[in-house]
Amino acid sequence: MKKISIVLSILVLGISIHLNAQKVFATKTGQLFFNATGGIEKIAAVNNQVDSKFVDATGQIIFGVLVKGFKFENQLMEDHFNENYMESTQYPKADFKGYIKNIKEVDFSKDGKYPITIEGNLTIHGVAQKVSTSGSLEVAQGKPTIIGEFSVKIKDYGIKGLYIGEKIANEAKIKVNCKFQN
């Protein structure tokens, strides 16, 4: 009798291990757009090499980009972005570390679009700020896609420059679009 109970308890434990097995979704080719147009001239760029990972069980999520990977329409603007504003030699990376708050509501086995809220720390130009935003997580054939949109106040990140508030908007709109592999 006792033996059976031990075997049972081990079995249960084994099953719980299986249940607990966390899955990490990752991508290296996520997209990140930003738009900081303040005047007539469009000040916008895209980065197609967003590195992102998230864990389905805990909702833990990270995003990382190389600042020099942002592509502008105008080369001179790109040079100024790197050299004068982002100082990308000194601060080559920008990243986000946080959690998908309501990850439990997402059923990865069922296709569909789930609203999510993400909270965490965004580090740009070496300055970390708390950010919270809502977005969506879409599951299609077991592969999740996260889409989010939020704004950041440029001056909150210690970025200085002549044109912030004029040609460059005070707030930059950021859009994220990451298709994950499993």
Binding site: I10, F33, L66, N74, H80, E83, K97
Partner: protein, 299 residues
Amino acid sequence: MQIKQFGIFITIFLVSFQLKAQNVDLFAEENNKKVSDIVTSTFKSTRIVNGQSIENVGAGVMDFRISHRFGALSQGGYNLFGLDQATMRIGLDYGVIPRLTVGVGRSTFEKQYDAFLKFKILQQQTGEKNIPVGISYVGSTIFKTIKDASTSYTPYITDRLSFAQQILIASKINDYLSIQLSPTLVHYNLVDSAKIPNDFKSLGISSRFRVSKRVNITSEYYIRFDKLAGYYNPLSIGVDIETGGHVFQLHVSNSKGMTERTFINETTGSWMDGDLCFGFNIVRAFSIRKPKELRGIKW
């Protein structure tokens, strides 16, 4: 019995340990992945003063460049210190791909037309791949269209051509200082007499020094190894000022030419005699073709 219980305890302990190991912590994953960082903005413009810098025009971008050179300050008040005698060059440079720039220009001096191509052979990088210098090749052709003085010699059309070949070796040492060496070979299809060689070797030494985020001091000097008599080594000192979509380059130089053969080998002024000319370049960049990353995006 006690041994049995101990066994169970160990098993549970091990299992729970395994459970713990299953917890992934993405934040703790130190992002040690090293990446190569391309060095950009070695110089602020595609020209240092007169000579080519290692910078290329961005892919799909067209630079409209107006270069102006006034006469020598030593001419005195009658010519308003050289302002009466301006020469200029209008040029268009286009970035075909990030590594390749082509350009054409027209100078008032000798009514020269010129065309060049600049190709980046080696890109300066830091990080995973450390390449301390960048190397580019520049080839340019200069065609003068000014009417020949009538002599007994009947010129060929090709006599009007001269060529310049340059290798640019540049290094951005830090955000504040960049240097460039430019070994140059200029070939004249026609020279004044048989005694004069057709090929002229020289070495350019240039630098950029950052004063503030938008202001840089540049200098450019060419040492001539083969000399045409009566001409001087060109030395130019300039200031690059950046505003939004423009770069202004203001400078003083003893050279009035703007094409390689003219400013390297045919500099008429001497710094010692005060034959300094004030000049400026104005550049406006136009985006002609969107980078492929940006096509089809709705903002």
